[in-house]
């Protein structure tokens, strides 16, 4: 075992503030949808808007960070060990089999994670962001008599936005649970809080790096 600095400071800030915002947006959003009652409709709308702008700002920063640090490559899906990973979670881990893949600072995500997070970033996030912006600017005539968005029915926009919310919550539930499947149930959580994680020293660590490099 080796203590490795896996999650950088910005990465942790981004992860936890995004998590916070997503849950806050879910709360206020489902209040606007009148499924729960917490702040009252008026406040819920206001808070939802403020939180949505914060999230958008955060996303801009995180995209910049991913691009400039090259961390975006973490999400490039690899399919070779995907089925092995699925098999591990559904079967192998009960038998006490070892993880089929090894986590390193260079390769933080297992194949299943990579493809799921990519789905989050390419499907769920765009769905909720685009419909959210359409919702926010949906009106027939705005204060300055400019028609902004009215051709797409608000009904459709709202329903797609709600669908996006359900999908992200689905992701969140499974994501939170999966954090307990690390070396110990809390090791992944600890790592995301402190940045450091005890990782196995694997002989093919270097070779993994080289494969990564060759992909680059």
């Amino acid at each position: 075992m080796q203590r490795v600095y896996v999650y950088k400071k910005f990465e942790r800030f981004w992860h936890w503030s995004q998590a916070l915002l997503i849950f806050f947006l879910a709360l206020t959003g489902f209040e606007v949808n009148d499924s729960i009652h917490l702040f009252g409709f008026e406040k819920a709308v206001l808070y939802h808007r403020v939180a949505s702008w914060l999230l958008l700002g955060l996303i801009v920063f995180s995209v910049f960070w991913h691009v400039t640090t090259g961390e975006w490559r973490q999400y490039i899906p690899t399919f070779s060990k995907l089925s092995a990973q699925i098999k591990y979670y559904t079967y192998g881990m009960f038998k006490g089999e070892p993880h089929p893949t090894h986590k390193t600072a260079r390769k933080k995500l297992n194949p299943l994670q990579a493809v799921t997070y990519l789905g989050f970033k390419l499907v769920m996030a765009p769905l909720i962001i685009v419909t959210g912006l359409l919702y926010m600017f949906h009106r027939s005539i705005d204060a300055n008599n400019m028609v902004i968005v009215s051709d797409i029915p608000l009904e459709l926009v709202a329903y797609l936005h709600t669908l996006g919310a359900y999908l992200i919550l689905l992701f969140a539930i499974i994501h939170i649970y999966m954090t307990t499947t690390g070396i110990t149930p809390l090791s992944n959580l600890k790592a995301m809080l402190t940045g450091y994680e005890d990782l196995e020293e694997t002989s093919d660590d270097n070779s993994n790096d080289t494969t990564n490099n060759t992909i680059i």
Partner: protein, 529 residues
């Protein structure tokens, strides 16, 4: 260094955000202040009519007063005679009908039904003298009643069933010398008491507005801006701005709040975008009939019950008549929540001679829909009742209700529907089969007055709520908070519950496996021992 700067940056952002979210200092509303200043200065007359020689005569007839008026205001009568207050009709393009003359002369209402054959009594609210039949000469300027609108002595009243002539008690000379800008007394004489009593028809126009507080109406409050009717209902050449769709049908010369308040009066963008599809009145008039009750229903079919051969009336605990032998039964309500409709400023009416198409009959109908681009959501008083109609011709019947004496076919004297129907329909030149029945009717009155104070305006969740909201049954649009897709909600909840179940199952298996493993391990340990 980095350790210090980042926390400072983030905490600064956080503090600014919190301040921005929770601290909302009152922004001075300069536009509103300007309006208040404008209406703070009350109108004063520039002339004293009591000094004019022409008005010092002992007027024998009200027509002499009119002639005296015209001797100075020598073209004003032509303006008056071009107005609908005089003509009781207006040339309009009506959707589905074409160009039509529409007004009190040919439409009916859901209260006393119609003026035809009852002119002698109904002309109390005509700005003329001598309308005692439908043969009134609308070209005789001498019969224009200037005083009913311009009397500032508050002594001029029209006589009961006097064909529009003033009451005999009125001192014409005094009234003539006191004329000026119309006050609430003048407008209210007809518009407060129409339908046979205070607040019967409108619900939002009644004599409490003569002197009310800000809770009743922010504009007219005596302890507020103390505005009068004509401050808003201005007139150019005696054509008064504003429409009521009991008799009006087209979207022109309307009076809207945004003419003074603009369409973005809120200092809040989310509220301001509402003005594209929600009329100001919808949020700012949460209830009407705030002081005195208004009639919500009127069933003519109940009329005609007599006690010992004599008509009678019944009143409720508040003194409102709930039954009158001559009129039928009524339901009164106070502090009424309006009903809401999409309305684009156009309306159609049942015009005498139309055949009934559908029950209940809509005596008037507000046009509009969520997607026509023009409509806004308006608060409306819906008046329900029933009226006499002819089941063979399928026409509503204009009955003759009033006559000075018995035996003249008037229902209010003889209590005979058949005779009243015969005389009434003959009077308007329409057929009557000899058979009558009663049919349910509806009438729609947009609510425009009794504007509440800012803090009493509707809150968001009175409409944006899943069930029992104010707009619960308004169709044609997606309303956040009210509308949801059952399929989507079901699917979404299924996803979440499914995920939780899967997670629980997975965790349970892990748990069980872990315990078993421990047992094996401990067994191994004991074996080794």
């Amino acid at each position: 260094m980095k350790q210090v700067i980042l926390p400072i940056v983030f905490s600064t952002i956080f503090i600014i955000l919190v301040i921005h979210l929770f601290y909302h200092p009152e922004i001075p509303n300069l536009g509103e202040m300007q309006l208040k200043q404008k209406y703070a200065v009350k109108h004063t007359s520039s002339v004293d009519h009591s000094k004019f020689e022409q008005l010092k005569n002992d007027f024998e007839t009200p027509q002499e007063v009119t002639e005296a008026c015209i001797s100075c205001h020598n073209q004003r009568h032509t303006e008056v005679m071009a107005s609908n207050h005089w003509n009781w009709e207006r040339l309009s393009y009506v959707e589905g009908r074409g160009i039509e003359r529409v007004g009190k002369q040919n439409v009916i209402n859901n209260y006393c039904i119609g003026a035809n054959t009852n002119e002698q009594s109904c002309a109390k609210c005509h700005i003329g003298f001598g309308m005692n039949s439908n043969q009134f000469d609308f070209n005789n300027y001498r019969n224009v009643d200037c005083m009913v609108c311009h009397d500032n002595s508050e002594e001029y009243i029209k006589g009961a069933s006097a064909a529009g002539y003033p009451d005999r008690s009125v001192n014409l000379q005094k009234v003539a010398q006191s004329v000026g800008r119309p006050g609430n007394f003048n407008c209210g004489a007809c518009h407060f008491y129409s339908g046979g009593g205070n607040n019967v028809k409108h619900g939002d126009l009644e004599d409490a507005l003569m002197s009310c507080n800000r809770d009743v109406d922010v504009h007219m409050a005596a302890n507020g801006m103390n505005m009068i009717c004509v401050d808003c209902h201005t007139a150019d050449k005696h054509q008064i701005k504003g429409k009521l769709y009991s008799v009006s049908s087209s979207h022109e010369n309307r009076l809207t709040c945004d003419e003074c308040h603009t369409s973005t009066p809120h200092f809040n963008r989310i509220l301001d975008v509402h003005t594209a599809s929600v009329a100001c009145q919808t949020c700012h008039i949460p209830t009407y009939a705030k002081v005195n009750a208004t009639k919500m229903s009127w069933h003519w079919s109940d009329a005609g019950r007599l006690k010992e051969g004599k008509p009678f009336h019944e009143v409720d605990s508040s003194g409102n008549e709930t039954y009158l032998s001559i009129k039928g039964s009524f339901r009164w309500e106070k502090n009424v929540e309006p009903e809401y409709f999409w309305f684009n400023g156009h309306a159609t009416h049942y015009i005498l001679g139309d055949t009934v198409n559908g029950i209940p009959v809509k005596v008037n109908e507000l046009l509009g829909s969520a997607d026509d681009g023009e409509s806004k959501i308006y608060p409306v008083k819906v008046h329900r009742g029933d009226q006499i109609y002819d089941p063979n011709t399928n026409m509503l019947i204009q009955p003759k209700l009033w006559a000075p004496n018995r035996g003249d076919s008037a229902y209010w004297k003889d209590f005979n529907w058949h005779d009243a129907a015969m005389a009434g329909m003959k009077g308007v030149g329409l057929p009557y089969s000899g058979e009558y029945d009663f049919i349910e009717t509806l009438m729609f009155w947009p609510v425009n007055h009794m504007v509440a104070t800012k803090d009493k305006a509707l809150s968001c969740d009175e409409c944006h709520v899943r069930e029992n909201g104010r707009l619960a049954s308004l169709p044609g649009f997606y309303l956040p908070g009210r509308d949801s897709n059952k399929g989507l909600s079901f699917f979404g909840q299924l996803l979440l519950i499914g995920a939780l179940a899967a997670v629980f199952l997975h965790a349970s298996v892990r748990f069980v496996v872990a315990i078993k493993k421990k047992e094996i391990v401990s067994e191994d340990i004991t074996k080794n021992h």
